[in-house]
Amino acid sequence: MVDTPFTGRLGASRMKKCLEDGPLDTTQGSDRMATAKTPEPLTENDEQYIIRNKDGVPVGTKPHTKWTPLRIIIWAVIALAGAFGWLMLAVIRGEQVNTLWFVVAAVCTYAIAYRFYALFIQKTVMRPDDTNATPAERIDNGRDYDLTDRRVLYGHHFAAIAGAGPLVGPVLAAQMGYLPGTIWIIVGVCLAGAVQDMLVLFISMRRGGRSLGQIARDEIGPIGGTIAMVGIFVMLMIVLAVLALICVNAMTGSPWSVFSIGCTIVIALLMGVYLRFIRPGKVAEVSIIGFALLIFSIIAGNWVAQSPIANALALSGTELTIAVMVYGFFAAVLPVWLLLTPRDYLSTFMKVGTIVVLAVGIVIVQPFARTAAVSEFAGNTAGPVFAGALFPFLFITIACGALSGMHATVASGTTPKMIQKESQVRMIGYGGMLMESFVAIMALAAAVSLSTGTYFAMNMSTAGIIKLDTAAVKAGALIDTDQATGDITVWLPGQEGVPSSAKPLTAEQVTAWSTDMSAGVVAGATAEQKEAANQAKAASAAVAVTQLGVTDAQGNKPRVEWDQQDPTNPSATIAMYDEAALQQIAEDVGEPSIVSRTGGAPTLAVAMANILHRIFGGKEMMSFWYHFAVMFEALFILSAVDAVTRVTRFQLADAIGNWAPKFRDPSWRLGSWICTAIVVGAWGSLLLMGVTDPNGGIQTLYPLFGIANQLIAAIALMIVTVVIIRKGYAKWSWIPLIPLAWDVSTTFTASWQKIFSPDPALGYWTQFTNARALIASGDLTGTALANAQATVRNTAIQGTLSIIFLAMAVAILVTSVIRVITTLRSGDTTTSEDPHQDSAFYAPSTFLGTRLENRVARQFMEVGDPKHIPHRR
């Protein structure tokens, strides 16, 4: 009978009642199930580790770890296992690297970082004081300030920070090979991401749960604070645009995905109405119904995709952009109960499910990594997924999972208002981020288990494919056409075994592919045109991947490969290659085409389908798993899009309220519509720019997204540094300064290259000048002219945004440094922390609770009279 979950003091009273009534129902979520018998009472010896307030109520326990031989052995084993994992990944490698080593290296490193580094930070700069009441205990209004069980809050915090980011960033970064991404995700989270999340959470918790912008204002001053607020607003717009772009790319031309993702909105509406009018408060019940409907909509998507209405649902990128914008507007102005709240239930449900499914898949199937450890694209700017070399672009491509500025808004948002004890910050802040990092590692492991050719065929823009095909013509590539199916096989000059029927690839053939592809995406394209476009895509992509300057794990030129089930022997597979393989993948996952599906979500979905079908359901279930994966990614993205739209709309209304006070009135309908329209217009126009970009929106916009996200991290880490120095802990300021220095050097270098690089793959302004020169030369006509004009327009906007981001970050850094210098000179360590207030509340600080903690928790239930808790209403 230990530490039954409770919320605030009401839990205490309930617990007391239960104790009087007899044996407690320990099934109610009690941990340590195996020891669900009455724990022994506290002893004299225990007492020395217990912190009590003046009324004798226990409020905390002192750290008292003793290094027993067993403990030393356990940690030695963890360290050795981790070291072995890294050795297998990075040094030995061998023929094929099992992705299970990714998991081993990650988990062991996390454990060590959590146990030693996070604890070190806790002891040196956080110094949690459990005699101090947290905002949740002090204010406890039953709404936003709400004492929440630490294990529940952990899940809550994780669901709030993790979305599509840790799933797509690592997939895109896989173009550099598996090793750079793995190292950055694991080392980055331990030294940077988790440190940022934990410290921001702690700082905000000590300040009544104030937001990052407000803390910046208090700590750095009004100028730096205002720039930080505006900067975060602008950066959020680009973040939303890129997230929405990923979602749009996953749905483009796919009736199945459009149907099942569209259904999530309808299902959320139904859930909202059900909860409001039919059975109020039956949250768990409605979530299960919603989840069942969700699964059904995935299955039904298959029927829709094969029905006559499929062609009407095969929407183009532009059409989907308008749909997402209309959705974003209504989601932000409709009452929360109708759409936002029920969709959050679905999203939370799916987040927990995703981790379980991913982990089970990787651990049981243990796929091999098929990309090289470090690919050629780590060292040059020729990568087709995104342009830029390893330094600095790896570190902005993988943001969520390693270091993400967005988290600082959550860690200074709802979580600090719900935490029970100061000493729980390490578990929730640092531990929550470790879990997100783990998701990122699994996404990376899944992505690199696809063949290199498949990976690139999915992640190149169509313009990039045609460019490489033109190179293939020059290089003398040969194609052999299968008489029966029309599928082509690609052969390079000098290759062994070229069939005599192979013919040289011609420029006319490439032009024909290009024409077919363009005809398939215009509004009002017929089903035949779309079919022809998909065939052209598969054929041209099969040729294009052979021209990439990259090799796979075995050092071979990439080639699209896929295992198909042997029709005569279901337990055997036949390897397929080139166009036939691309067509087969599309058929297996139930999509018209999988070529050039940039953004990372479809790639991860194919990889997950390829892994999961081996455990659940076989080939038949592959299309289900693909659409399951696409749907949860879309669900996470749409949740972020409408929630952030809603929040920023209020911020905007507040800002406009400075000039036109009427805007501050939340009940003024027209005002909120105007603000929502401005916010949706801001991210929507960026989204449209990405969708119509001739080079593929992800390739040009994703770096901007990464830079924006990581600059928010720089702002957060700078604020943390200022707070630590003002607190008088200057000697420990290296803790946030290490990640800050790294983050600043990568984001500033990336921004610099994006603005000034003469390399047209990188520099926005170089692209801009080149495109302008091309237009001025008068040689361009038709599509080429339109593309050049789009490039001029897009690069001008992207280049300007890069400059604005950089200027803002510099301004905040300068004001912060000034603040640090004045603080160090004056020795003024006044703080904006809330004054100390005695706590009268106890809860364990570890996830499961130590033996001592659980015994103290039990005593608190008995002696912790609810009346001792201050600020009762």
Binding site: R9, L10, S13, M33, G281, S287, V336, T341, V410, A640
Partner: protein
Amino acid sequence: MSSSGLAHCFGQVIRGFKTAWWYVCELLGANAYQHYLDRFTLDHHNGEDGHQPMSEKEFWRRRIDEAPVEGGCC
């Protein structure tokens, strides 16, 4: 394995599921009304001071309408 051992195992599994269910419910906030009632009882001495708790319907209406919107997640 003896039958009592099997029963024990079975009990453990059931308990594990119940724990998972409790966790999901708490995560979704499904028990909020019960928490509110417990708290109300405590604050208002079981209604003896003349206050009456909100009905379940009213509670959920207010809870959802007044909930802060979170804008995080990447």
